[in-house]
């Protein structure tokens, strides 16, 4: 769908089918604040394989949205990448000039946000906005308009020929999110970044949007990085899951591995907490006691980041940062490596409960 006309030099990257589309390696990111540097992301390594939906789950302050914004390089001004690389198409996105990055946004990757109202221009008609984002394509305005109508039809907007002239406030929240998805998908990106796209929506609308993303992904064959705190939607939509806690990846693997055979105590606790998993009526819901550690300056705990709240913490967790251990999975051939950063998964510690 992209046309070379307005493009700066865009070297064709080696398209090794086995290589992941997006490879985040040892990414560390700080925010400067009056109280010191906040180490928001620390040593994040994760991949988004081609054609797969990867869910990034975590609670507020885990850095899950920051990760998505780092990938598309739309970070706040006080953010500083202090290490690592984000490789896509064989190039480290962090080394690209702003101009080169603009060439990638809205073409190789696009993004949808939590609040569709704030990502649409409220004084411009939907059609005009959808024509505008095709500014790179050397086709007539009528053709662009036709494509906009088609894109709207594709995401299930009724009467798209008519509604394309509407303004954002004339649509419901769910419809607005559909429009945002239509705009993001119109360029048929290789990677779609979705930052909590269903959080602001009602439950019945939420499942509609999830279904839509699922269908579009299958049609276009793109990859999706889906950021959410909602375990239910992640379980339903995603193929792979990355669990973040306080700025670190604590566990990653295929969705079944993560939900059925969690290898990290945090993942386990998070799953236990979800009232949706507790079928029997109870007046005592499980919780994760304690608070998320401070990430300011040198207050980041040494050793395992979860140790302050972990029921299984032992002396080793206090001083040794757990590396990624492979988690022995119940499945014969897991379709994604399952790793957890917990000393309990070390073969040497297997004797422990």
């Amino acid at each position: 769908m992209t046309h070379p006309a307005a493009a700066p030099t865009r070297p064709e990257a080696p398209r090794d089918a086995a290589a992941p589309l997006l490879d985040v390696r040892h990414l560390s990111l700080d925010f400067t604040s009056p109280r010191g540097r906040i180490h928001a992301l620390r040593d994040i390594s994760m991949t988004v394989p081609r054609g797969r939906i990867v869910g990034v789950v975590g609670e507020s302050g885990s850095g899950k949205s920051t990760l998505a914004y780092a990938v598309i390089r739309l970070l706040a001004e006080n953010a500083r990448v202090v290490g690592g690389e984000i490789v896509m198409d064989g190039r480290d996105l962090l080394t690209l000039s702003p101009r080169e990055m603009r060439g990638i946004r809205g073409r190789r990757m696009s993004m949808i946000f939590q609040d569709p109202m704030t990502s649409l221009n409220r004084v411009m008609s939907i059609g005009q906005q959808m024509i505008d984002i095709q500014y790179r394509d050397p086709i007539s305005k009528a053709e662009k308009r036709k494509r906009a109508v088609e894109a709207l039809r594709r995401v299930g907007i009724p009467d798209p020929e008519d509604r394309v002239n509407g303004y954002p406030h004339q649509f419901s929240g769910g419809m607005r999110q559909r429009i945002c998805i239509a705009m993001a998908m119109m360029v048929e990106p290789a990677l779609l970044l979705a930052d909590e796209p269903t959080t602001a929506l009602d439950a019945t609308t939420e499942v509609q949007i999830i279904g839509l993303l699922e269908r579009l992904q299958a049609e276009i064959g793109c990859s999706i990085l889906f950021v959410s705190h909602h375990l239910g939607t992640v379980a339903e939509l995603c193929h792979d899951v990355v669990v973040l806690y306080a700025g670190e990846v604590v566990e990653q693997g295929s969705v079944r591995d993560i939900f059925h055979n969690p290898g990290h105590p945090y993942t386990q606790a998070l799953l236990d907490c979800d009232p949706g998993r507790i079928k029997e009526k109870t007046r005592r819901l499980p919780t994760i006691p304690g608070v998320v550690p401070s990430l300011v300056g040198d207050q980041v705990p040494t050793g395992c980041i979860f140790k302050t709240r972990c029921p299984h913490a032992f002396d080793r967790c206090d001083h040794e940062v757990p590396p990624s251990y492979a988690v022995v999975s119940g499945e014969v051939a897991p379709d994604a490596p399952h790793t957890a950063r917990c000393h309990l998964r070390d073969a040497a510690e297997e004797r422990r409960p």
Binding site: E59, S60, P158, S172, G174, M175, D202, A203, T204, T205, E206, V207, Q208, I210, G211, H229, H230, L231, G232, T233, V234, A235, E236, V255, R256, F259, H260, A269, L270, L271, C273, D274, P275, G276, R277, I278, K281, T282, R283, R284, L285, P286, T287, I288, V291
Partner: protein, 335 residues
């Protein structure tokens, strides 16, 4: 159980346009019905869960109960006293016995007051001067599980969960008999949601207060409420004991809501019942059964005739011409 709150045929209307414009456009009835013919009762120590999507009128009921907005029909009796038609002055003692917690944990706390001032605010409002405020501060903070040192913090220095605890402490300061909680878990992480629900449940068990819990989160309702009501376009479409409604829903909308609750299990691809399209506007209510525009079971009959209230059991009611069978869901789960 003795009845604490009894609401019958409550109706709340909002003006849809100014009086002048209505006159110019010759609109005779420039109102929309936000809440329509709603009835329920709550006993001491009981919890009613109000469930519905945004715009269904659940928060409007709460505000009408608190006298924050006028109501236009029916009755609301709290402990035998009719609340409708009370003046703002006469409402003041009611607001001592009925406390409300608002959605936004931080935003419902006055930003310039310390936690100490916030949780002792009810004492000042109601002129309770004979108590030692330091002692009350300590008592309330301890009750909601916050360290005493939090008394000097400002709202913006609190996390969502902590702010919610402060909200609970403030609501319970004057030992109310009824607490209305509007989305008590909104904006909180799952690990904190449990904490807040547990706190509410525990305080309810200890103090025997009645509660109205308004939420869109079915998982919350399931664990905290005895009775639940499902709202659609300002009406109760189904109402009954929580377990009963969960296991044997009769109204298709209830079923849609229940199945729109994705389970945190990738293999639990339960049979999904989806509603078509969007919630209609209150200004243009559909004819007949108001859910027919989205209902997967709608027939021609539904478009024309509004269904009356039916009972599945004495305390389980619904409004639908073609209700789900009692065992439909169970059969499907087995299949």
């Amino acid at each position: 159980m003795s009845t604490l709150l009894e609401v019958e045929h409550l109706k709340v209307r909002f003006r849809s346009m100014g009086a002048l414009r209505a006159l110019m456009r010759r609109v005779k009835d420039p109102y929309i019905d936000a809440v329509c013919d709603v009835s329920f009762r709550i006993g001491r120590g009981e919890t009613l869960g109000l469930v519905g999507e945004s715009g269904s009128g659940k928060s409007t009921i709460a505000r009408a109960l608190m006298g924050l907005i006028p109501s236009h029909g029916g009755s609301m009796r709290f402990d035998g006293t009719e609340l409708r038609g009370l003046s703002q002055r006469a409402y003041k003692p009611v607001r001592r016995d009925m406390a409300m917690m608002f959605q936004d944990p931080v935003g419902s706390l006055s930003p310039r007051l310390t936690v100490r001032s916030l949780i002792t605010e009810p004492f000042r409002i109601h002129g309770v001067r004979d108590r030692d405020m330091d002692a009350e501060t300590r008592r309330l903070l301890e009750m909601v599980g916050l360290p005493a040192g939090f008394a000097q913090r400002f709202p913006h220095q609190l996390s969502g969960g902590q702010a919610r605890r402060v909200g609970v402490a403030r609501a319970l300061a004057l030992d109310p008999r009824l607490v209305i909680a509007d989305e008590p878990t909104a904006g909180l992480d799952v690990s904190i949601q449990g904490e807040v629900m547990n706190l509410l449940a525990e305080l309810q068990d200890r103090l025997g207060i009645g509660m109205v819990v308004i939420t869109h989160n079915l998982n919350v309702v399931r664990h905290i409420s005895d009775q639940m009501a499902v709202m659609y376009l300002g009406r109760f479409v189904e109402q009954g004991p929580t377990e009963e409604v969960f296991h044997r829903p009769r109204h298709p909308y209830t079923e849609v809501l229940l199945s729109a609750n994705p389970e945190p299990d990738p293999d639990a691809k339960l049979h999904r019942v989806e509603a078509r399209g969007d919630i209609p506007s209150l200004a243009h209510r559909p004819t007949g059964c108001e859910f027919h525009t989205r209902c997967p079971r709608a027939r021609d009959y539904c478009r024309e005739v509004a269904p009356a209230l039916s009972s599945a059991a004495p305390d389980h009611t619904y409004t639908c011409h073609f209700p789900l069978e009692a065992d439909a869901k169970e059969r499907r789960l087995e299949a």
